[in-house]
């Protein structure tokens, strides 16, 4: 309770002023974007990238997305048999794989449920657009992000 009483020469006011004066002479911790950029941690969820070779159009990511922001279209193709006299196999081919980043929640459920390791997180974050339509990244653009995916970082033992 004694902490609540106001003592006459008001020492608390001057202690506060001393903190401010001290801060006046310290170097600012500001990062001057865009001249300097902060490098995000490797694990940061910046953008999702796609490895089209691994994708088998199983649609799990589109189904599990809470916002339904992944649009997938594919068709089945016939592939000649591996050996003579074998049966004709069908393989799914990806026609369209769009992620709408205006809707995306960056939760990572799609990356997690993919059974074929086709989706990866990348810490890139500079893809703002002037129009919302530009936030729909198509298959080619998603493949470009693949180059920015960092190596698996070291883990705590």
């Amino acid at each position: 309770m004694s902490q609540k009483r106001i003592a006459f020469p008001f020492p608390g006011l001057f202690k506060g002023m001393w903190v401010t004066l001290r801060t006046l002479f310290r170097k600012t911790p500001t990062v001057f974007y865009p001249d300097e950029k902060e490098i995000p941690v490797p694990r940061a969820r910046g953008v999702i990238s796609l490895d089209t070779d691994a994708c088998t159009v199983c649609m799990l990511c589109a189904r599990e997305c809470p916002d339904w922001c992944i649009y997938i279209e594919g068709h089945k193709e016939e592939v000649p048999p591996a050996k003579e006299g074998g049966r004709v196999r069908t393989r799914a081919k990806l026609d369209r794989f769009d992620i709408d980043y205006a809707l995306c929640m960056y939760c990572g459920i799609c990356v997690e449920v993919c059974p074929f390791d086709a989706l990866f997180w990348s810490p890139e974050y500079e893809y703002s657009e002037h129009s919302i339509a530009g936030m729909l990244h198509d298959k080619e653009r998603l493949t470009e992000w693949l180059a920015t995916v960092p190596e698996a970082p070291a883990v705590e033992s």
């Binding site: 006011l13 006046l24 500001t30």
Partner: protein, 339 residues
């Protein structure tokens, strides 16, 4: 350097002082932005005008000039439009009597202090007009708080100045500086002059500074503006040139109050060891240094302390500052007569 013609003389002096003070206001605005920023551990203006950001106030001014001129729908349009000009002209009029050197004053009135305090209280009217005419309940609350606060703090301001007048024996600001320049005691072969701050006006100085910060509506007395409660108080509906007028008016008033405090208590344009003939040249610099110190303290306080509630600041004015100031006058009078 006179041309002989009184009107021309005065016109030149007025223009020079106006120009100097307006650029001074820009400097103070920049100082507040930069110092305030570094006190908060951030860089402040950075891009406008090169790395230091010195052109920020100019950029802000240009930005405000090209903004749309809005008058709210239900507002009393003539009163709304007139309010900012009233505030700015009253503030500029205070610079007429402030001496920058023994001859560098627009007009050294015998009633200097009286004129100063009377003219600066016209700003209260302007603030009240702004609050009422904005047709906005928040502005109204801000305007009413401002009226109560500014009227309440006129009195300690005045009474503290009266104690100095009693001690100096004259109301003319030049006379007050000369009274401080007089020798107080002679130690060996040195004539020592003491500013009123140290000649018994310590409490008076504190009262004057508190009342000055309250007159300026700055934290810790910014209930009229109270950004986190009333958005911008009586200034909410203003934009463009009118807002610039209020803004400039506030910073001009900071310089004015600091200059008056420096003149009354710190010795004004006078400093020891400066020969008489150089005072006209060095005077503005000396006054400038003292004003800079006081302005720094005012900025420092603004960025550190929170604001007082309306009833608490009224309490402080009427129950503490005014009796203290009256006691100060009595003591100053006793000392003046007895010694």
């Amino acid at each position: 350097m006179t041309t002989g013609l009184f009107a021309l003389d005065t016109a030149i002096k007025v223009v020079v002082v106006l120009a100097a003070m307006l650029s001074g206001a820009l400097v103070v605005i920049f100082a507040e932005l930069k110092i305030g920023a570094h006190m908060q551990h951030r860089p402040g203006p950075y891009y406008a005008g090169g790395r230091f950001g010195w052109a920020q106030p100019l950029a802000d001014g240009l930005k405000f000039l090209q903004k749309e001129d809005l008058v709210p729908n239900g507002a009393d349009s003539r009163v709304f439009r007139a309010a900012p000009y009233l505030v700015v002209s009253a503030t500029l009029a205070t610079f007429v009597v402030i001496p920058f050197g023994p001859d560098l004053v627009v007009r050294d009135l015998d009633l200097g202090v009286f004129y100063l305090l009377a003219i600066s209280s016209i700003t209260t009217l302007g603030v009240l007009m702004a609050g009422w005419a904005s047709a906005n309940k928040y502005s109204l609350i801000g305007g009413l708080r401002a009226a109560a606060q500014l009227i309440a703090y006129e009195l300690p301001l005045l009474l503290a100045a009266v104690a100095v007048v009693v001690q100096a024996g004259t109301m003319s600001l030049n006379g007050i500086v000369e009274a401080q320049a007089e020798t107080f005691i002679t130690v060996g072969s040195f004539d020592i002059s003491v500013p009123f701050l140290l000649k018994g006006q310590l409490i008076g100085f504190a009262i004057f500074m508190i009342a000055a910060v309250a007159e300026l509506s700055r934290i810790p007395f910014d209930m009229p503006i109270a950004e986190s409660e009333l958005t911008m108080g009586y200034l909410t509906e203003y934009s463009g040139i009118r807002f610039t007028m209020f803004f400039l008016g506030e910073y001009l008033a900071i310089i004015s109050m600091a200059a008056v405090a420096a003149t009354l208590y710190l010795g004004g344009y006078w400093a020891p060891f400066i020969p008489e003939n150089l005072l006209n040249a060095a005077g503005p610099l000396i006054l400038g240094a003292k004003v800079a110190l006081l302005v720094f303290i005012i900025i420092w306080i603004r960025w550190t302390w929170p604001r007082l509630r309306e009833d608490q600041l009224q309490d402080m004015a009427w129950r503490w500052l005014i009796p203290l100031a009256l006691a100060n006058i009595v003591i100053a009078g006793i000392f003046k007569v007895a010694f």
